[in-house]
């Protein structure tokens, strides 16, 4: 329909209308179709989740997919964006007709809440709770899109909605589509340029189509420089660059595009150094990590944030420059598990903690100190019922003292 018009943006013009037009998202579509069965024609089944979340990197077709769902189920779509959620009045203004009027031509309605991770944790906490109550009350299915569903602020949403992962579009699919578009537009482009555009897009189809259009519109190709999209690099890519490539100044900004805090990144690096470096390189890298940690300690103690510069340089360029030569090959980077292990161990030892607490207050020392002297303390308390009474230990705590372990 639209393709008959003279549409200026190719990205708009070639937006898919049907499930079968969508490339590389078979799994997601299967899941959606299942769900759609439940709300066909906008009717909701009792007890089922009422919202779908499409999550994935930019330019992979989340919003498009939502429109396709509406099209295929012959529903009308009502779009809200994240900022509307904050404004209750405006939201109702938009939704009122959606909820009250009967559509003349189509039978059902779908509410689309686009880019929900635009809601910031600090300023619009209300936005998320508003969204949750919308899901609670809605008579119509809701589709939500988000780049990163694992943000902390979105955790309540993860429980209320069905998650559908939209993957990065594979290189070959993007390239094929580029060629197809050029053909139907009657444009000719050097095949090297197509490859370059495709690589730079990094799985972002919208970016690829936009670049393609720019390139095709320009006469002289040599002048076009496609800057690499400043796309979110995941931590695996960042690690790969740091550990494999020769240290370069670009690395200084590498963590800006990783969607993790520097503290978390530090744990990833800590975990994975020994999978890449051995011997002298290992020692050098850990020495730099150790230095970075010292700056982190100083930032914390003195609240002097400029030290962050040094922490960042040591963690990126410093770790990278610890090796003698760049290397190739695939390394299976591991997720850091230390924090989890500590947490699990604390869970297991929570009685030790509660006993230490009671003891510490009783004898005027700190809890941490009591914890570190627990072997002695345990021995003293274990064999003396009067002390157990003095400290008002519970039966479970006493049982713990007599538990399986040796002295620990």
């Amino acid at each position: 329909m639209i393709s008959d018009l003279k549409c200026s943006s190719w990205a708009e013009k070639y937006r898919p209308k049907k499930f079968e037009d969508i490339k590389g998202q078979d799994e997601a579509i299967k899941k959606i179709k299942n769900f759609v069965g439940d709300f066909h024609l906008g009717k909701l089944t009792r007890g089922k989740k009422k919202a779908l979340v499409f999550h994935g990197p930019p330019g992979t077709g989340k919003t498009t997919l939502a429109h396709v769902v509406a099209n295929e189920t012959r529903c009308e779509i009502f779009e809200l964006n994240a900022s509307d959620l904050r404004n209750k009045f405006k939201m109702q203004e938009i939704l009122k007709p959606a909820i009250e009027q009967k559509s003349l031509t189509k039978k059902g309605k779908i509410i689309l809440v686009d880019e929900v991770d635009g809601i910031s944790g600090y300023y619009d906490k209300g936005g998320i709770s508003e969204l949750l109550s919308l899901i609670e009350e809605t008579k119509y299915p809701i589709i939500i899109t988000a780049n990163d569903i694992w943000k902390k602020i979105l955790s309540p949403l993860r429980k209320k909605a069905e998650l559908v992962q939209i993957k990065e579009i594979p290189y070959s699919a993007i390239k094929d589509l580029m060629i197809e578009i050029l053909r139907s537009e009657n444009k000719i482009l050097d095949s090297n340029a197509v490859v370059k555009i495709t690589i730079n897009a990094n799985g972002d189809l919208r970016a690829a189509i936009n670049d393609l259009q720019t390139a095709a519109d320009l006469e002289d190709l040599s002048e076009t420089e496609f800057s690499e999209r400043n796309k979110e690099t995941d931590i695996f890519n960042a690690l790969k660059k740091i550990f494999k490539n020769k240290a370069s100044e670009e690395m200084l900004g590498i963590f800006d595009s990783v969607n993790l805090s520097l503290d978390e990144i530090m744990l990833w690096i800590e975990e994975n150094i020994p999978y890449e470096y051995k011997g002298e390189e290992l020692a050098k890298a850990y020495n730099r990590l150790s230095r970075a940690d010292i700056f982190k300690g100083r930032i914390y103690k003195q609240q002097y944030w400029r030290f962050l510069v040094y922490e960042n340089i040591l963690l990126s360029y410093g770790i990278s420059a610890s090796k003698q030569n760049p290397r190739q090959g695939f390394t299976n980077y591991k997720k850091p598990t230390r924090i989890l292990k500590i947490w699990l161990s604390n869970q297991k030892n929570f009685k030790k903690k509660s006993i230490s607490q009671k003891y510490a207050h009783y004898v005027h020392i700190g809890e941490k100190r009591a914890m570190s002297e627990f072997p002695l303390i345990r021995n003293i308390i274990k064999s003396n019922e009067k002390i157990q009474k003095e400290l008002k230990l519970t039966d479970e705590e006493i049982e713990y003292l007599h538990g399986e372990f040796s002295l620990y």
């Binding site: 290992l282 150790s290 103690k301 004898v363 005027h364």
Partner: protein, 320 residues
């Protein structure tokens, strides 16, 4: 009620009962006798009598009303300065009972507070200065910000000498009717590292097994309180297996719940038992010292310990 926990049962309740720190005791006692004390800062190692002196001060000042007029906080337990402030505020709101015109707040391990938190503490100290006196304790007075130091009378506690700890232990041995082998005292002092609380705890822990304390029994007890299996970690590292060394270390630290500093202490001792050249031993010791320093400065001890393990790997390769 008399406590069955010996560190409490035998805790001195009068100035005259205290061992060691004679100068400090004399000065604090005379301040107490004048019924007016300034803010006090007690600095010194663990188990040298800081909390005990604070308690005696309070009990002497307030007699039977001491509990109503005394608040004890531990800075390393209380989550953040705001909790400390809130508790101080509630406590300081009511007037003191009895003839002493102020109440006393004892803030233990005050050096656990960040400099910012200490600034806030200083404000709190000023705000309640006419109703409350603070006694702060810390291991290192250098970690207390100058403005607080300048508002306090500072007392530096020394590590207890062997004769002091001996005196305490002898009294307990007598009262608890224990029998001790002649050289036990020596070993107990070694094991206590000058920390009186630890000496008493080791004694009670051993006595809970048998009132007849032999050298053997005591030595088993002391080594049971030390981190175990550190040698295994170092052996892995020297043989070049960093992964195993690291995994084992974390396992030990979690299972035995020991801190980074305790690991360092054990590593430093263990270096002497390693099959490496004397020159390497010195270098590894130096490295260990550097890492101990970094643990104090840094934020994550386990990262520092991994850096140490990496130097052991290097030493195992015959480099550095």
């Amino acid at each position: 009620m008399v406590s069955e926990i010996w560190t409490e049962k035998f805790r001195p309740v009068e100035f005259s009962e205290l061992v060691g720190q004679e100068e400090i005791v004399k000065r604090v006692e005379s301040l107490v006798n004048s019924l007016n004390i300034p803010h006090l800062l007690f600095a010194g190692p663990a188990g040298t009598g800081k909390s005990t002196l604070a308690l005696i001060t309070v009990k002497t000042l307030f007699r039977e009303n001491w509990k109503e007029n005394y608040l004890e906080l531990n800075a390393s337990d209380e989550r953040g300065i705001n909790v400390v402030r809130e508790k101080v505020k509630n406590f300081a709101r009511t007037k003191s009972l009895g003839k002493v015109p102020f109440k006393i707040i004892f803030l233990d391990e005050a050096d656990a507070l960040t400099p910012e938190a200490q600034q806030a503490l200083r404000r709190t100290m000023e705000n309640y200065s006419n109703t409350c006196r603070f006694i702060l304790s810390c291991n290192y007075s250098s970690k207390i910000i100058d403005p607080i130091q300048s508002r306090c009378a500072i007392f530096r506690f020394k590590l207890l000498e062997k004769k002091d700890i001996e005196k305490v232990i002898k009294k307990i041995v007598e009262r608890e009717k224990l029998s001790v082998a002649p050289t036990v005292m020596e070993m107990l002092y070694e094991g206590s590292e000058g920390d009186c609380r630890r000496a008493i705890n080791i004694l009670q822990s051993t006595a809970s097994v048998s009132p007849n304390i032999t050298l053997e029994l005591l030595s088993t007890m002391i080594s049971a309180t030390m981190p175990k299996d550190i040698k295994i970690v170092l052996d892995y590292a020297l043989s070049g297996d960093f992964h195993q060394a690291r995994e084992k270390l974390l396992d030990i630290m979690l299972k035995q719940s020991i801190s980074g500093q305790e690991v360092i202490k054990a590593v430093q001792k263990e270096i002497w038992n390693l099959p490496v050249e004397p020159d390497i031993k010195v270098k590894l010791t130096e490295k260990t010292g550097e890492v101990e320093f970094r643990i104090v400065e840094g934020s994550d001890p386990f990262i520092q310990l991994q850096a140490l393990l990496a130097s052991f790997v290097l030493a195992g390769l015959g480099k550095e």
